[in-house]
Every structure is written in structure tokens, then in C-alpha cells.
């Protein structure tokens, strides 16, 4: 048995870590966020209130969170993975129980002026926990039922509770993100192929027995928005009109009629991408997609460069999560999938989402800053 020599790299100072931070990536993120501010400014009819100003403040806070999280040793995050997961799951259950007790469907916990959405916390916590667990497994081990049960449970619990909220979009996001992490960890194709087939069979069953009426209605409206153009199909019809009417070069900043005249629903949140389309046209949406793609590219590159499997899985988990947001929101506002209430990261107005995304990028940054640290297979991190 050969001895693996584990060298603890000299612990870097904060200053050295700050130098290590991927500033171009932060620049990209800031650029995207600025597009969001511009759109929120325009959505308010050319005003920083009520949205753009607050969003900028949140971004600044998010920026410090990002840098701070990025400077914390990767192994610390590894150590916090399970407790964070357990805490998030607890909150998720608590919200569900509170809802059952009599407050109706509730997705957040009131913490004084703050609203804490456990499902948002869970997005990060689940990625951390999966990365932590899968870090120690070889591809062959991942596929063993005994080993697979645990990560599957890690995915299943939050998905079930989020579904119960009910929040179809986030549940789908969590499930997809978890599944893709298993895929990256080397899950055998023998598992993947039958599961994919099973999902294909299960979807109609879920439709029939598990979906709430309002969820079914959303799907139905999506399939035929013209059926009830002033009712439930209104959102998607108006979103398509907003996007399409932008044409090649758009109507110009502050000139979007669909948004300014309130034809565009939830323009400051879920449908903000359509505003970009309306005011800046095809050129604008392509530029924005390119920026987002570069961010994802950065994420993948960070993952590939990390020496530790934990770092790789964590970085990819965050990147995949970011990508899934974009995919689901993009497909949704373009009328390709039902409206499920997933915001566009960095652009949509919303405090919790902004914090979660920035925290996620912080973790990505931490992987980047600590990319040379080789975490042993059986390490449980630094607690």
C-alpha cells in the first residue's frame, strides 16, 4: 500500500486569497446584474424606486457575501455541508407543518423584516451535501444501490417537501440539479437509462394524480394560450408579444410599451427577460445569453481545475443550478414550457434569490480560490 503524501498547502492570507479571486467572473456577474438594474429602472417607468434601487443594494450586499464566502476555506464548507442540509431540511419541514396548522400555503419564514425561504437555502445546502457525500465515492461505488440510497434520499426529501408547498418549479429544479450531480459523480448508464424511461412513463401519471388544479391549469394554458387570452393565458401571450415586438434592435431603453403599460405581468420578476427582448431586441437577448453562457463557462472551468472532487462537484453543482434557472426561466418566458415561477438569476427582482445566487457564486469562488487544495477522500472537512 503506497503512502499518499498529503501536503497541507501553506495557509494563504486574506490578501492572497483576494488576489486569487476570479475578478473577471465577478465583473461578468456585475454586468449581468447591471442589465437587471436597467430593466428594473425601466419597468418602474424610469425610476429607481421601487425596484432598481433596492436590487442594487442587495447586489452590493451579495457582492460582499460572494467575496466573503469565496475566501472561506473550501474544507470549512465541506464540514458545514451536512449541518447546513439538516438545518435547511428542518426549516422546510417547519414551514410545511406551519402551513398545515393553519396559515395556508406558505413558503417562507418571517424573521423580523426578513423573509427566509427554506427552499432557497435548500438549493445551496443540497448541492453542498451531495458534493460532500459523492466526494468520497468512486464511479463504481456511486452506482451501488447501498451507496446510492443516501444521495437519492438527500434529493428526495427536499423535493417532496417543496412539492408539498406546493412549488413545482423549485422542486423540478432541485430534482434536476441533484440528478445531474449524480450523473457527474459517475452514476452508471445502467441507472440513468431506465430512470429516464421511467420518468417518461411517470409524467402522465403525475399529471393525472399528483398535480394541483392550478398547476394543471398552468400547463393547459401553456399548451394553448389563445384559448383564454385574457385569463390565464394572458401572461404567456403578452410575454411573447413583448419579446417578439422587440424585433432585431428593440424599441429602445425605457421605450417598451408592453412593460410600461403593464401588459407584461410580473415584468420585474419572472418575466424580466422579456423586457430585455422588448427594449433591446434580438441583439440584446443574444448578448445577454452570451454573458450568461460565459458565466457558465467560467463555472465549468473552475470545476475542471479544482483538485478535489468535492470542489469539482460543488462548482458544477452551483453552475448547473445557475444553468437550470436560466433554462427553466428562458423556456418559460418564451412559451416553451409552462409558467412555473422560476426567476431569471441576477436579473429578476427578489431578495432571497439574489442572496442565494450570490452565495452560490461565493462557493464557486471558494472552489476557485482553493483549487489547489487536494482534499482526501475520507476527509470530512474542517469544522
Amino acid at each position: 500500500m503506497s503512502v499518499h503524501v498529503y501536503r497541507e498547502p501553506p495557509s494563504a492570507s486574506i490578501r492572497q486569497k483576494l488576489v486569487q479571486i476570479d475578478w473577471p467572473l465577478i465583473g461578468l456577474i456585475a454586468l449581468i446584474a447591471c442589465t437587471g438594474f436597467a430593466m428594473l429602472y425601466s419597468a418602474a417607468g424610469g425610476s429607481f424606486s421601487p425596484w432598481a434601487g433596492r436590487q442594487m443594494l442587495r447586489f452590493v450586499i451579495g457582492f460582499f457575501i460572494l467575496v466573503a464566502v469565496g475566501c472561506v476555506d473550501l474544507r470549512v464548507w465541506m464540514g458545514l455541508a451536512y449541518p447546513a442540509y439538516a438545518f435547511s431540511l428542518l426549516l422546510l419541514v417547519a414551514v410545511e407543518v406551519a402551513g398545515r396548522v393553519g396559515l395556508g400555503a406558505q413558503r417562507w419564514i418571517e424573521l423580523g423584516p426578513l423573509q427566509l425561504q427554506p427552499s432557497e437555502l435548500m438549493k445551496i445546502a443540497m448541492i453542498l451535501a451531495l458534493a460532500r457525500y459523492l466526494h468520497g465515492l468512486e464511479p463504481g461505488q456511486v452506482s451501488r444501490p447501498v451507496r446510492l440510497v443516501i444521495p437519492l434520499a438527500m434529493i428526495a426529501f427536499p423535493v417532496v417537501f417543496v412539492l408539498l408547498q406546493p412549488n413545482l418549479g423549485t422542486a423540478a429544479l432541485l430534482a434536476l440539479c441533484g440528478a445531474l450531480m449524480l450523473f457527474l459523480a459517475g452514476l452508471s448508464w445502467w441507472w440513468i437509462a431506465p430512470t429516464a424511461a421511467g420518468v417518461a412513463v411517470a409524467v402522465p401519471m403525475v399529471w393525472e394524480f399528483a398535480l394541483h388544479d392550478y398547476q394543471k391549469a398552468r400547463v393547459m394554458t401553456f399548451l394553448n394560450p389563445d384559448l383564454d387570452a385574457l385569463g390565464a393565458g394572458w401572461n404567456i401571450t403578452q410575454a411573447k408579444i413583448a419579446l417578439g415586438s422587440g424585433g432585431i434592435a428593440g424599441k429602445g431603453f425605457l421605450m417598451g410599451t408592453q412593460s410600461r403599460l403593464n401588459f407584461l405581468p410580473e415584468k420585474e420578476t419572472d418575466f424580466i427577460f422579456t423586457m430585455v427582448g422588448e427594449e433591446f431586441g434580438f441583439l440584446g437577448t443574444m448578448a445577454l445569453l452570451a454573458l450568461l453562457a460565459v458565466v457558465i463557462y467560467h463555472g465549468i472551468r473552475i470545476a475542471m481545475r479544482s483538485r478535489s472532487q468535492f470542489g469539482r462537484l460543488l462548482a458544477m453543482g452551483i453552475t448547473v443550478n445557475f444553468f437550470l434557472y436560466i433554462m427553466i426561466n428562458g423556456l418559460m418566458v418564451m412559451g416553451l414550457i409552462p409558467v412555473v415561477g422560476i426567476p431569471m438569476p441576477l436579473l429578476s427582482y427578489g431578495g432571497t434569490a439574489m442572496m442565494t445566487v450570490m452565495f452560490g457564486f461565493g462557493l464557486l469562488m471558494s472552489v476557485h480560490v482553493h483549487r489547489r487544495i487536494d482534499v482526501p477522500r475520507h476527509s470530512s472537512g474542517i469544522i
Binding site: G244, I248, V320
Partner: protein, 627 residues
């Protein structure tokens, strides 16, 4: 180095799968980009149109309806402000019923109105406003506007309503305006969008209908930018539209009012006409109805009264009332015979009280007869026997031809709808209708304006005007639209010899100016204003042989329905006729001859008003001013 190797396997798998996933992500981005290409480039124009449709609303602005004025500029139909309130079902919070109830707190609303609005809302598109109430007082309207913030879906609106200050006097001349019926919409060939405007009213009957296109004006349009809730953000552009034209009638309101007042308790038709131009100075039908009531909607009780009255207020008597012209028709018989040379002015016929043709005796109204008469005396005394013999000599063919030349037997072509043509019989018609040849006896009866002969009071007025002026005048009501005069060619002379016409005119002057003339008692004493005329009585019942022996019952002693119609045609001044007049009073054939005295007074009034120097009528336009 097994560990290292496994390490490598793990990393290799991760890298391979990350690349695979990256490829998948790239594919998804391609899908997004492709979809954006489709939406923004391929279908961009279509969505741009839809966005514009979203944003821009056309608001139709109803033009103000033109006024209708008499020849001196007296307004006969006005448009005044109409404060009203509408509900837009789509904009109500909590439904139309709740909105109506809330509205009822601000303004008085009956339960019937509430139910109607709720019923209409059920069948209508949510964005189409529904008229709740109109003709609100200013107080109610002001209160409504104050409460507006608490009334969802309620729209106050200032419309206009039609006002007819002289009401019944002009009911049949002006007609009225009323809501657009589905039938009107179907016939809307010009596609005027105004007809779809809630509460819009169009002309029904009379001048309001005949000149609706001109009086209505052109819709203005306002292109406004609206937000998703329909609130107007700003006006993009504005087309003011054009107010409807004012219509100047040839009518003299004072003369019309005078005639109406004297006739209002009768069932009658009367007309006064300019003999040179055919301009109608008065066109009266009594009893009238109040066109203002039609504007706001007639109640079932009012409707019942209008339709069931034996005086038939809904019938436009001068245009659509058929009466045997009776003795007034003798002027036609005389003119036809003189013109054809069948008789000369000095041709004498005898009247012995009756005229026998075959086995049948035709009676004169005067028992004992008139003795020997020439044509002037025949007309002056209105001798039936004289005209039996003239008609017999002339024949039905000559008679009906002359009658048609004088404007009988066919509509006069007056501008307003609803005119009927009267009736002049001929051989062809008789054969076709009864499968029998024309009988000589029928010629006799026709010769004194009885039997099949029927005429409207307007036709009788045209007859009087043609006899008086010698021109083929046709009546008209509308003189100008806005500042534009409606030009008409000067009427052609009548195709009768001047001598024949003069003889008939002189006879008619004798009727009203010489002792013994049937209208002598009602003559105009001042020779400058003197009139000529011809009386007429139309029997509505058969006088039995027994009655002829015992004496014909006095009309005054008969029930109203059985009394004779009283007719009179006249012109004035006698020496140079300017006005013609016809008055027909249903079942008014009394010895007091109210139709004669009325025609006299009307002709006198018309002439006196000329002397007052008020004949500078009609709108003054630049062309007129330079004259």
C-alpha cells in the same frame, strides 16, 4: 499507486461527463437562441402589430348632430347636453350587480333599470360600455363624479340628446331620433362605425331620417395609448370629426304652429306651398305626437294611446292619408275639358238636381238643381250635374291624363319617407282588377272626385299650386344643408293652355269672392290678399234613396266617424298667386266649413308675414352676402 489510478478514473469520468453536460447546456442555449430568433426576427413584425394593438385604442367621438331650422332660422330640432352614466362590465370589481347597487347610492335608479343593465351585461362583451341612465340632472351628474373613485367600472359621459321645442307641431315633418336597431346595423352599408357606439341615435322618419347622413356628421376619432387596465395614458392623435350639417327647412314655424293649433283637436292634414318654387311653408298632420318622447323611449301606455286613438296620430296625413278629393277635383275636370276643347268657357249645361244615365240617377248635392250653368258657375256653385255632363263628354281617358299632369295619382316626390301616391283610376286598371270594362257611370263619379279617385292633402296642395301658378311645381321641405342651397331646376310650365288655366283660376276666385260662391262667406275682404279656392266634401257613407226624400241628415247630427270629410284647396293673392293651400279635415264636413276658414286665415297670415319684410330667410353664406 492504485489510489492515484482510481483518483484518475474518478476525475476522468467527471471531466468526460462535465463536457457532455456542457454540450447539453450548449444545446439548451441553442434552443433558447433559436426560439428568440423565431419570435423576434421571423415573427417580429406580427408581434409588433399585436403590441401596437394592445397599446392603442381607438375612441370614437360622436359628432354633434346638426340642427333643423325653419326658413327664418328658428330651431326646430336642437341637440343639448345629455349627462349619462355607463358601466364597463370588465372594469367592475365584484361584478356588474354590485357596481349597479353602488351606483344606485349616488343617483336614483329603479329596479327595472338595474335588472336591464345586469341582463345586458350578461350578453355583451366585457369591454363594451352599457348605458345605465341618461338625461341626468346636473346635480346627480356632479354627485356621481364626486363618488367616482368608489365606483368601479362606472363611466360618466356627456352625450347629447335631441330636443324638439315645438314637439307635436313637427312630429311628422321632423320625425325623431331613436336608438339604432339591429336592422339599421344590418343596413349600414356605408359601415359608419358610429352605429356601434352605445346610446347613439339615428333619425327615424321625417327629415331626421331622410337627411340622417348629413345631419349625423362624421365621427371623430381619438387614438389613445392605454395601459393593460384600459386607462388612457395619453392621446396620440385626434381627428375631430365633423359636426352634422344644419338643415334649413322651407317651413315657416309660425305658420306651421298656427295651422297646428287650429287643427290639433281634429284628425287633419294641411299644407301651404309656394306656387313658384314648391317650397312648403307648412305641412301639418294632426294630432301629432311628441317626438321627444321617442328620444327617451315611449312607455307602453303612451304607445297604446298612440296606436289605438281613432285620430291616428302616427299616420302622416298630408303624405299618407287617402281621401276622395270630392268637389275640389272639379277643377281638374274643368281644366281637362277646357284644354281638350270639349267645352268652351261659355258652354252651358243644365242641372235639374239629378242627371240620369241609363237607368241610374246621379244626384246633385243641391236638391232641385242649379239650372243652366257655364263652367265658371259650375265651379262657383260646385254643381255636380254640370260636371257629370262635362266628364261624360271628356271621358275617363282625358280626365285621368289631366289629373296625372296636375300631380295626382303618383307620389309628389317630397324628400321625407312615407309618402303614398293617392289613386287615379283608368280603364286598364279597372279591367285588371275587376275583370270588367270601365263603366260610364264611373266616369261621372270620377268627374266630381268621388268613386275610385283618392288623393293626399299634399297632392291637393300641389294641385292648387299648379293651377294657381301654371307651373309643374313639386313640393320640397329642405331648402339648404349648412350654407349650401339645394338647387332645383325651375319648374316647367304646365302642359295646359293658358286660357284654360286662367278660366279655372277665375272660377276659383269666383268661388271665394262672388256672392253665391261656395266659399264666399269666408272670403278675404282686402283685394290685395284675396284668395281663390275650391271647396270639397267627401262622403264616407252611402246616402240612401229614402234619405234623399226625407232630406240628407245634417253632418253635425251624425257620429264623428260617419261625417263627411271636409276639403278645401286655395291660393292667394288672387291676381298674382303666390301661395297655395290645401286643408283636409277628416269627418269635418260641417256647415261652418272649418277647413275653409282655416285655409283663408293661413293664406292671410302667409301674405302678411311677407309684408312684414321678414323674407330674408335661410343661412347667409358668402355667395349670398356678395349679392
Amino acid at each position: 499507486m492504485a489510489f492515484e489510478g482510481k483518483h484518475k478514473t474518478r476525475y476522468a469520468t467527471f471531466s468526460r461527463r462535465t463536457l457532455l453536460l456542457g454540450g447539453g447546456m450548449a444545446a439548451v442555449f441553442s434552443v433558447l437562441a433559436g426560439r428568440l430568433y423565431q419570435l423576434q426576427i421571423v415573427d417580429g413584425d406580427r408581434y409588433l402589430t399585436e403590441a401596437e394593438e394592445n397599446r392603442i385604442n381607438f375612441k370614437l367621438l360622436a359628432p354633434q348632430r346638426g340642427r333643423i331650422l325653419d326658413r327664418f332660422g328658428v330651431a326646430l330640432a336642437n341637440s343639448r347636453r345629455n349627462y349619462r352614466v355607463l358601466i364597463v362590465p370588465e372594469q367592475t370589481r365584484g361584478g356588474v350587480a354590485a357596481a349597479v347597487d353602488a351606483l344606485a347610492e349616488a343617483i336614483p335608479l329603479t329596479d327595472r333599470v338595474k335588472l336591464r343593465v345586469i341582463g345586458e351585461a350578461r350578453g355583451a362583451k366585457g369591454f363594451m360600455p352599457i348605458l345605465v341612465a341618461e338625461n341626468l340632472s346636473w346635480d346627480d351628474f356632479a354627485r356621481l363624479n364626486l363618488d367616482l373613485p368608489y365606483l368601479s367600472g362606472v363611466q360618466p359621459d356627456v352625450g347629447e340628446t335631441r330636443d324638439y321645442p315645438y314637439a307635436e307641431e313637427f312630429s311628422h315633418v321632423l320625425g325623431y331620433v331613436a336608438a339604432v336597431s339591429p336592422d339599421d346595423k344590418q343596413k349600414n352599408s356605408s359601415g359608419d362605425p358610429l352605429l356601434d357606439l352605445p346610446g347613439f341615435r339615428i333619425g327615424k322618419r321625417g327629415v331626421e331620417k331622410a337627411f340622417d347622413g348629413e345631419i349625423r356628421g362624421h365621427a371623430g376619432a381619438s387614438r389613445v395609448e392605454v395601459n393593460a387596465y384600459g386607462r388612457v395614458i395619453r392621446e396620440l392623435d385626434h381627428e375631430p370629426g365633423r359636426q352634422g350639417e344644419d338643415v334649413y327647412l322651407t317651413i315657416d314655424r309660425e305658420l306651421q304652429g298656427f295651422l297646428y293649433d287650429r287643427l290639433k283637436d281634429e284628425s287633419a292634414g294641411a299644407a301651404v306651398m309656394d306656387v313658384d318654387t314648391g317650397d312648403l311653408l307648412a305641412l301639418v298632420s294632426t294630432p301629432g305626437f311628441d317626438p321627444n318622447a321617442f328620444n327617451v323611449g315611449v312607455t307602453p301606455d303612451q304607445w297604446k294611446e298612440l296606436t289605438e286613438s281613432d285620430h291616428k296620430p302616427l299616420i302622416n296625413k298630408p303624405l299618407a292619408g287617402f281621401y276622395p278629393p270630392g268637389s275640389t277635383f272639379k277643377t281638374v275636370t274643368a281644366l281637362a275639358a277646357l284644354d281638350a276643347g270639349v267645352i268652351e268657357p261659355d258652354t252651358i249645361f243644365h242641372c235639374a238636381g239629378q242627371f240620369e244615365l241609363g237607368s241610374h240617377a246621379f244626384h246633385c248635392w243641391k236638391k232641385g238643381g242649379h239650372g243652366a250653368l257655364n263652367v265658371r258657375q259650375g265651379i262657383k256653385y260646385s254643381c255636380d250635374c254640370f260636371f257629370y255632363q262635362v266628364a261624360l263628354k271628356l271621358g275617363i281617358d282625358g280626365l285621368q291624363e289631366a289629373a296625372r299632369k296636375l300631380g295626382l295619382g303618383a307620389p309628389t316626390g317630397i324628400e321625407i319617407p312615407g309618402e303614398r301616391g293617392g289613386f287615379i283610376p283608368d280603364r286598364v286598371w279597372k279591367q285588371k282588377t275587376f275583370k270588367e270594362p270601365w263603366q260610364l257611370g264611373e266616369t261621372l263619379v270620377a268627374g266630381i272626385g268621388q268613386g275610385y279617385v283618392l288623393a293626399t292633402p299634399l297632392q291637393l296642395c300641389v294641385l292648387a299650386a299648379r293651377l294657381a301658378g301654371g307651373k309643374q311645381v313639386t313640393p320640397r321641405l329642405v331648402h339648404s344643408l349648412g350654407a349650401q342651397r339645394l338647387a332645383r331646376p325651375d319648374p316647367e310650365p304646365l302642359p295646359f293652355s293658358t286660357d284654360a288655366l286662367d278660366e279655372v283660376r277665375q272660377a276659383m276666385i269666383a268661388v271665394a269672392n262672388e256672392p253665391g260662391g261656395t266659399a264666399y262667406a269666408w272670403r278675404i275682404a282686402d283685394p290685395a290678399f284675396a284668395m281663390g279656392g275650391k271647396t270639397g266634401t267627401a262622403q264616407v257613407r252611402v246616402i240612401s234613396a229614402e234619405e234623399r226624400v226625407t232630406g240628407v241628415r245634417n253632418n253635425a247630427s251624425l257620429p264623428w266617424k260617419l261625417r263627411d270629410h271636409g276639403l278645401f284647396i286655395a291660393f292667394a293673392p288672387a291676381d298674382k298667386p303666390r301661395y297655395a293651400c290645401a286643408v283636409v279635415i277628416e269627418h269635418g264636413g260641417l256647415d261652418s266649413h272649418p277647413q275653409v276658414s282655416l285655409a283663408r286665415d293661413a293664406l292671410l297670415l302667409a301674405q302678411q308675414r311677407d309684408i312684414l319684410g321678414r323674407r330674408t330667410a335661410y343661412p347667409v353664406n358668402s355667395a349670398d352676402a356678395s349679392l
